[in-house]
């Protein structure tokens, strides 16, 4: 299988390495993979022959003047973002809501040369790109990178403005789907999306039900400064990394019931939650840095920020992670204390929580928080007056 990534043509004469996987002439039915390779890499296929040219697989230099390559979706950690979380589009949203879609599109085209301001996912995306830069330095041949795809149900009329904005902010986003009103969910699968971020809770719920890690993001006015060189991702435990099993017990039987249940089941692993695989993919990339001696200054850092208590209910969480072969760099057991101040100290580029109460609390203190609308907490939202510990 040819793993050579594809050179994206920027209108310059980039020498493309003619590599081609051998393809049998009768590739029918399941010819998808074979055909795709042939199309992308068979630059040396000359003329009308029916047999493809078998060219030696030379690995070419990755850093070509002005050219960046883009990985195959199945090899990369694909992050799909909607236009509303990558950029700020509140004004345009208002036009849409008040004056309808035609006026909205006209407005967008009129303001085409005015770039949007950064949205809630912007600093996260910038941090992903910083990690990519480091990965490319250490592993120039590898396709195991972050791949950011813009997936929006905007009409293509907004395309030019979005591309202008991407150029203005110097983002490395070359892939996008503008579905013109159709649901973007299918495209998430087509891109083998590992994480989907959107402002639309409905879409996020739909993605979650299709087994895709997803979270809703909101614009907040207060934003603390985050690192430019180290990607920091923080996760809540229950109903994010783990299932909502314990939350159900807590809601049904109260705090004591919860503690008892956790003690009784300490050695039984928790079930997986919607963001478990995303943590795993971060861990995989971290290991690539460790392998090259960058354990202490790894540009990816992960945090578990949970209301569980270290001495009791937290143990089950740690055992579960360990059994999954996963770990977070730091595990913070708050025993019910508010998460905001702790997050403010950590300064993650993104924090995932299943409860809006915590998401809002984090945002109040300037942390970019994303809501994972999963599990029992969606049916019984946390009341602000209750500040109970787990």
């Amino acid at each position: 299988m040819n793993l050579d990534p594809v050179q994206v043509m920027k209108g310059q004469s980039n020498p493309k390495d003619p590599t081609a996987a051998p393809v049998t002439a009768s590739s029918n039915g399941d010819g998808k993979g074979a055909w795709e390779e042939k199309e992308e890499f068979d630059q040396g296929h000359l003329g009308l022959t029916t047999k493809p040219l078998l060219v030696s697989c030379q690995r070419r230099a990755r850093k070509v003047e002005g050219g960046i390559f883009f990985p195959k979706p199945e090899n990369a950690v694909t992050i799909a973002v909607s236009s509303r979380v990558l950029f700020r589009t509140e004004t345009e949203q208002k036009v849409y809501e008040q004056k309808g879609v035609e006026e909205y599109l006209r407005y967008q085209v009129e303001h085409e040369n005015e770039p949007f301001a950064p949205g809630p996912a912007f600093s996260f995306v910038k941090a992903l790109e910083a990690v990519n830069a480091r990965l490319r330095e250490l592993y120039p041949e590898s396709e195991e990178l972050f791949d950011i795809v813009l997936v929006t149900y905007n009409h293509a009329h907004v395309g030019v403005r979005l591309i202008n904005t991407i150029n203005h902010h110097n983002l490395f986003i070359e892939r996008f789907c503008m579905t013109g009103g159709s649901s973007p969910i299918g495209y998430l699968k087509a891109w083998q999306t590992n994480l989907y971020l959107s402002a639309d809770a409905e879409k996020v719920r739909e993605a979650l039900s299709e087994g895709i890690a997803a979270a809703t993001m909101f614009m907040s006015n207060k934003l603390t400064e985050v690192s430019q060189t180290q990607l920091r991702v923080a996760f809540d435990g229950d109903a994010v990394l783990f299932s909502d099993e314990s939350e159900r017990i807590f809601k049904a039987q109260g705090l004591d019931g919860f503690f008892q249940h956790e003690r009784d089941n300490e050695d039984i692993l928790l079930d997986r939650g919607p963001l478990k695989d995303f943590l795993a993919s971060l861990g995989k990339l971290q290991k690539k840095f460790y392998a090259k001696g960058h354990r202490l200054d790894c540009p990816i850092r992960t945090y578990l920020v949970t209301a569980r208590s270290a001495a009791s209910s937290g143990i089950r969480a740690l055992k579960t992670l360990r059994a999954w072969g996963l770990e977070t760099d730091e595990a913070l057991f708050l025993a019910g204390a508010p998460k905001g101040p702790m997050l403010e100290k950590i300064r993650p580029h993104i924090y995932f929580d299943d409860q809006m109460f915590h998401v809002e609390g984090a945002a109040e203190m300037g942390t970019v928080a994303a809501h994972v609308p999963y599990g029992i907490a969606q049916k019984h939202p946390h009341k602000k007056s209750l500040n109970t510990g787990k």
Partner: protein
């Protein structure tokens, strides 16, 4: 030489005003493995049958808006079949109620000439080789996309996807392609694609504007398969300059096309004319 037969069941279009497209009969009716002499039952539906139905929907909607509309699709069915099959093809078209204006029966060698002499705006085939060969000979052509699951292809909306690589390309890019080893024949295909897309895009733009943003029976899209986002932006602006504001846009930067195309489900894809792609029709 060809034999052009008018379809008596279909109202003839004003060919000068219509969007004349030629469709290979193998795309509409499944080619038979064994020729049974004297068979009379209708031919089986081919890979691009839903395309015909979608065209019909567009024509019907256009006529509903304006019964004197002349900007309609005018379909010529191009057949290289043996003479004994001619009447069966005509009968099958009647059986399915297909909106085919004319049948053109000719030898394979004469096909190109027939296309050129009949003011055909676009030759459509499910065979990429045929499409690329036509482009390389200077005939505007596009691919009828074949889905392995025919039940999922839309029949109530015609979807046309243009190539951002072609439309947004620059002279520099052409030079770059030459340096990468593409033959002049292949580049000719690219140039034809680029030269002929404008006329077709203008017509599609005009047709698209007959309908509103939502509920249109015609849906247009742009796909940039291997070029950068700037090429895509350039293509969007160029199309806009030609009067076509596409509904959907996709920029793949080299990612596999099939998963995306399976969702877009276009009927017509304008290719870049560079490759003779094996197994394209088997793309699932």
């Amino acid at each position: 030489m060809d034999s052009m037969v008018r379809n008596p069941d279909v109202k003839q279009r004003d060919a000068a005003q219509a969007v004349v497209v030629a469709v290979s009969s193998d795309a509409i009716f499944t080619p038979e493995v064994e020729q049974v002499h004297g068979a009379t039952e209708p031919l089986r539906k081919g890979d691009a049958f839903s395309f015909m139905k979608a065209i019909q929907v567009v024509n019907e909607r256009l006529l509903t808006l304006n019964s004197d509309e002349t900007l309609l699709f005018d379909v010529i069915l191009l057949s290289n079949d043996s003479e004994e099959k001619h009447s069966r093809i005509i009968a099958s078209a009647k059986h399915y109620g297909l909106d085919i204006g004319r049948f053109c029966f000719c030898n394979k060698e004469d096909s190109i000439e027939s296309l050129q002499s009949n003011n055909v705006k676009l030759f459509l085939s499910t065979d990429t080789n045929d499409v690329c060969k036509a482009l390389q000979k200077g005939v505007p052509a596009a691919l009828l996309y074949h889905q392995t699951d025919p039940h999922h292809q839309t029949e109530d909306q015609l979807k046309v996807v243009f190539s951002g690589d072609v439309i947004g390309s620059s002279e520099e890019m052409l030079h770059g392609l030459r340096e990468q080893g593409f033959t002049e024949t292949q580049l000719q295909g690219f140039k034809t694609a680029k030269g002929s897309v404008k006329e077709f895009a203008i017509l599609m733009g005009e047709m698209r504007r007959r309908f509103g943003l939502e509920g249109s029976p015609l849906c247009t899209g742009l796909m940039t398969a291997w070029s950068s986002r700037d090429v895509c932006a350039s293509a969007l602006k160029t199309l806009r300059g030609w009067g076509l504001l596409v509904d959907e846009a996709f920029c793949l930067a080299g990612a596999p096309r099939s998963p995306i195309l399976n969702l877009v489900r276009p009927h017509i894809i304008c290719l870049d004319g560079l490759y003779h792609m094996e197994g394209f029709t088997a793309m699932s």
